[in-house]
Subunit: 229 residues, 2 copies
Amino acid sequence: MQIRQLFDATSSTYSYLLWDNNTQQAALIDSVQEHVDRDSKLINELGLSLKYLLETHIHADHITGSGKLKKHHFSEVEIVIHKNSNSVCADILAEHGDTILLGDKTINMLHTPGHTNTDISYLIYGAVFTGDTLLIRGSGRTDFQSGNSETAYNSIINQLFTLHDDTIVYPGHDYNGFTVSSIGEEKILNPRLCKNKTSAEYIAIMDGMDLPKPKLIDQAVPSNMKCGL
Amino acid sequence: MQIRQLFDATSSTYSYLLWDNNTQQAALIDSVQEHVDRDSKLINELGLSLKYLLETHIHADHITGSGKLKKHHFSEVEIVIHKNSNSVCADILAEHGDTILLGDKTINMLHTPGHTNTDISYLIYGAVFTGDTLLIRGSGRTDFQSGNSETAYNSIINQLFTLHDDTIVYPGHDYNGFTVSSIGEEKILNPRLCKNKTSAEYIAIMDGMDLPKPKLIDQAVPSNMKCGL
């Protein structure tokens, strides 16, 4: 499996293009509407066959490119969003434990809610795409879109932190110039979770954050329910 | 060898932390002064022993963090810059063909001038850190600091493009959200170089660019001659 990390500087969002080297079947995780041209060009340049547009959740800070990519560039592609979204545009409303294939490579879907109630972490051998559930030295806020700090804690501790320590963590965002981490590294170094922090400690940390309302949320969430169209 | 890509959003500069898993010996390529605290913290968190601070060239768009990293954090580290720089702060004034070791892993230095006369590409098995000599779908400008379009063309064609097609290209910058490429991909898809472009065609492309003077050049170049101190 090949992985190509892509960045949107405006929202500090990472998108990821994955493909199977044998069949050239590809998936794009968390596309951004402003980069539909960039990403469709790259997919075509590399000779890939785009099978899936995967969303880690319904985003509040940017508008997905999935609708435009499907409508204008890749009509056969299937859009995957968690079933809790009740999305009207998803081709697959995914549940925990679902799998999809790129060639003979399996992508496993882990429902890891807490940032929202629609979070999916996508797991392939040796790598996990954690969306906003787990960030590098941080984690996604839990104060809107059915977010819940205790649920987020359980998703991280009982699902993500049970993966092999060497599993590469590809986050949905980074605001400090970091690109990747690993499960082992975050277990030891993530200040919100290290040193066996309890659920109560995590909830206190998350509740203590005084974060501004995301600028785009009122526009982005309803738009993303329709894949940005 | 482990590789960690780091980003400076202000100058769109990529820094790279490399380390040998067996000995934890590390090198940092193209540090940025504004991120000295971030990078020294990461190096310490990961339990690495920083042996080298490598510069791909004397930068005109940002100030290196090498001097501050050595002075305040890693007194034993050796700063590596090409000999053409006549840098007064380098511990090693490197030449084409020189090598350094991280544990038993060799880093080879290729003198790939043209963007400046001080360009080094750092080659480890399967990966090349090209600085500004080769960018993703682009290449570094050649209109200052002893830059020369014909020299740059020869560095790319006769050195970088003779590497194995699967060699991962880690550039010194990207302005479009791309993170990595490969030699094979750039041979086919880099618009300045693909389709067997001649030296004359490359020179015409580079001469035809109407680029503004880098904002920081008058400050950055003399500062970087002193490792930013």
